[in-house]
């Protein structure tokens, strides 16, 4: 039954790719008609309020400046709210103001779509902060990511000096994608028992006669955008393992599809922009192949259980159940873990710190590659970057100028891509080494031995990939962790976004090279194979040594 239920979810996803991808294309191709008739009534007043009279196209630099500026303003507003939440409205549980380095970390974390949480939702945030800061940023960071990806797609597929108008794209992403979808999914989740209330934490007398506190809150509204926007930060400390955030296997499937479908549809949208659906499907199939490989690793490892517990003579046929919920079992936990780290969501429905050592490689590896589906847009951008690299390598092998989608790939683009490829491992491995060498870093480790290395490595990998899940045993609410992970999240998000927009900007101004019989095709199985190899080889070259020190060594000690 395990493999059957996983296969059904993947099948549903496959059925969603084409309609969703087409819808995104219609929304963002900016031609009259399309989806205007359903939404322009709502957008007219918004455009008037923000003062956007002319929607002229921007250069990649104008686009980048606009989204950076908007993000900076939102971070400022959010920081102010967190620092004063005690006196602001909707604070029925009397939550205190948030400490300054923690506020900074939280703001960077949510603006960068990471949602690494060094606080616990039930005790760290007022309902007002949950709504006006956390939910607001879940929308705005997701919309930012989607817009930048769309701009990048426009740049590599169309000719001209502009990549679109950021503010127009941003508003449309909200009104035509995120707000209506989030509302509908939230109502569906309430129907399936996810709470949505502003009442304070309840107190009941249990069947055994003791007192039980039960935290509630506006959970459903957050839960829907948390997954649609691949944000991942939970209302509750236990995130989607909490029965209020994720009450049943059915809500689990809904949450999985919410975080997965938009990211999976974007390659198809890309194919439509590139006027080659086949090209889109090739990118999609590369992602799906890698996905299924890593899913299998996690599923096999978790099903066979933790060897250390299996030896105790009990019935451990269920697999590794420490840190997992009975209603999900291994299949729904394993699928969730793989999707949440592929799609860079970072919500968890089981505790990743407690995954078996080999099972834990799956989330780590997917965040290290950071290109398998990916969050709102970023995954597709990274995969296209690997595609350009693959074309470049193939070009070198046969001694011809590499081309991608009819444009020459030259030194300028390759330099920018080299920066992106090198930054990601650097901001993971350098701070990991720093943390392991210093007292401030070591004091956060709560599981001794090789697993301690994995804990630290996971924290920075998750930050750099803007994922946000954690090996949550790590005692990470200290100035050292708040500041270092904050920096890693910032660099992980903005360097690659800006550099790849620059690549797009540079490509979009090039003259198209006519296609000849000698052109290296990028829409066939051969290219898919080369692309998979490039992603895996680069990933393995950079990260295999540290994986051997952490999870692999731990596996050998308990085998």
């Amino acid at each position: 039954m395990g493999i059957v239920q996983i296969a059904i979810v993947i099948l549903v996803l496959l059925l969603l790719v084409k309609p969703l991808g087409t819808y995104l294309y219609l929304v963002f191709r900016n031609e009259p008609g399309g989806t205007d008739k359903w939404f322009s009534w709502a957008e007219r007043p918004i455009f008037a309020l923000i003062g956007l009279k002319e929607r002229r196209g921007m250069s990649w630099k104008g686009y980048a400046l606009s989204f950076l500026l908007t993000n900076i303003i939102l971070v400022g507003a959010g920081y102010a709210i967190l620092r004063f939440q005690q006196v602001l409205p909707w604070n029925p549980n009397g939550i205190e103001n948030m400490e300054s380095t923690l506020s900074l970390n939280t703001m960077i974390s949510f603006m960068t779509n990471t949602n690494l949480q060094h606080y616990s939702g039930e005790s760290g945030l007022s309902y007002f902060s949950q709504m006006a800061v956390i939910m607001m940023m879940m929308f705005t960071s997701a919309a930012t990511g989607l817009c930048v990806a769309i701009a990048f797609i426009r740049a590599v597929t169309t000719k001209g000096a502009t990549v679109g108008n950021f503010f127009e794209d941003f508003v449309k992403a909200m009104t035509r994608v995120f707000i209506p979808a989030a509302f509908l999914i939230a109502m569906l989740l309430v129907a399936l028992q996810v709470p949505q209330t502003l009442k304070p934490t309840m107190s009941v007398t249990t069947l055994s006669g003791s007192e039980q506190q039960i935290a509630v809150g506006p959970v459903a509204a957050l839960e829907s955008i948390k997954h649609l926007g691949t944000n991942g930060g939970g209302h509750m400390g236990a995130n989607s393992a909490h029965p209020f955030e994720n009450p049943s296997p059915l809500t689990n499937v809904i949450e999985i599809l919410c975080m997965w479908s938009l990211g999976a549809a974007l390659p198809y949208t890309f194919g439509l922009f590139a006027k080659s659906r086949k090209q889109g499907w090739i990118v999609f199939s590369v992602m799906m192949t890698l996905f299924i490989g890593f899913l299998s690793l996690n599923y096999a490892a978790e099903s066979s259980g933790n060897p250390a517990l299996n030896r105790l003579g009990i019935d451990s046929s269920q697999g590794s159940m420490e840190g997992k919920e009975v209603r999900f079992g291994i299949p729904q936990s394993s699928l969730f873990t793989t999707v949440t780290t592929a799609a860079t969501t970072g919500s968890v429905n089981n505790m990743h710190d407690t995954l078996t050592p080999l099972g834990g490689i799956t989330p780590l590896a997917l965040m290290m590659l950071n290109s398998v589906f990916g969050g709102k847009g970023v995954g597709l951008m990274n995969m296209l970057m690997y595609a350009i690299l693959a074309v470049f390598l193939a070009g070198l092998m046969v001694g011809r100028t590499p081309e991608f989608l009819g444009r020459k790939i030259e030194a300028k683009e390759m330099k920018l891509i080299a920066v992106v490829i090198l930054v990601h491992p650097f901001i993971i491995l350098a701070p990991t080494a720093l943390a392991l060498m210093t007292n401030a870093g070591q004091s956060g480790i709560t599981n001794a031995g090789f697993h301690g290395i994995s804990q630290v490595l996971y924290e920075y990998t998750s930050s750099a990939a803007n994922n946000g899940s954690g090996f949550e045993g790590l005692a990470d609410n200290t100035p050292f962790w708040n500041v270092t992970t904050g920096l890693v999240m910032l660099l992980g998000r903005y360097i690659s976004m800006i550099a790849l927009l620059a690549v797009g900007g540079s490509l979009s101004r090039k003259q198209r090279v006519p296609e000849t019989p000698g052109t290296f095709r990028t829409d066939n199985g051969l290219f898919a194979g080369i692309l998979i190899a490039v992603v895996l080889i680069i990933g393995a070259l950079t990260f295999l040594p540290v994986l051997v020190l952490g999870p692999v060594a731990e596996h050998l000690t308990i085998r």
Binding site: I46, S120, T162, V190, L207, I214, A221, G237, E554
Partner: protein, 210 residues
């Protein structure tokens, strides 16, 4: 303020295609509009609609005993220290729903190994008639949330001899009760079959009272 560098970046592109105005004003207004729309209107409208249409679910699916007292939420597990009740999973937070989470033990953590061994010993003492080989792993491990309301049907079954002995209710009767409270997979395929411990114990309590 930001004018100089911004204009410089915009200046390189021809004026025809590029907005030459610095977009600070638009960025500020966009931010404000969406703080209100996404941060206030969206959650408040959702709350209103949920409270109006589905108040039971929206308020945490509270559950009452026969006399109408609220005894908890059907989604949130409770601790049942008395051996006459069916037990749920381990909870590092003692089922205190003000928070949530687990110990986050690594698979190689010696404390987890010690805790599980101690649990197995306690099981042997309380359930002398059920061999350890039949003890399912979910009963001696901590759930992810610390609030897991469910156990597997097998985990309920192995507790029947103990509960029967402590309550005097026949094993066959308890088997029927467990079967009645076993929920299948969603749509017959998603998730795992499970037993809600609080609901099962509520039914047990009713049997005891009559």
């Amino acid at each position: 303020m930001m004018k100089h560098p911004v204009q410089k970046a915009f200046g390189r592109v021809s004026a025809q295609t590029e907005a030459t105005r610095v977009p600070v004003g638009i960025a500020v207004r966009t931010s404000l509009v969406f703080i209100v729309l996404c941060g206030l209107l969206y959650p408040l409208v959702t709350t209103g609609a949920a409270q109006l249409l589905m108040p039971k679910q929206a308020n945490g699916s509270l559950i009452e005993d026969r006399s109408g007292n609220v005894v908890g939420s059907e989604l949130i597990g409770q601790s049942f220290p008395d051996p006459k009740y069916f037990h749920g999973r381990l909870s590092s937070i003692e089922y205190n729903g003000a928070g949530s989470g687990s110990n986050n033990y690594a698979p190689s953590n010696p404390e987890m190994l010690e805790r599980t061994k101690a649990e197995i010993e306690a099981w042997k003492k309380n359930n002398p008639n059920v061999p350890v080989q039949e003890l399912p792993i979910d009963l001696v491990t901590n759930s992810g949330s610390g609030l897991d309301p469910h156990i597997t049907p097998k985990s309920a079954e192995v507790q029947i001899p103990r509960v029967s002995e402590r309550t005097g209710i026949a094993e066959a009767e308890l088997k029927r009760l467990v079967k009645e409270h076993t929920e299948g997979r969603d749509f017959g395929v998603f998730g795992e079959p499970r037993v809600n411990v609080l609901k099962l114990n509520l039914a047990l309590q009713e049997l005891l009272e009559h």
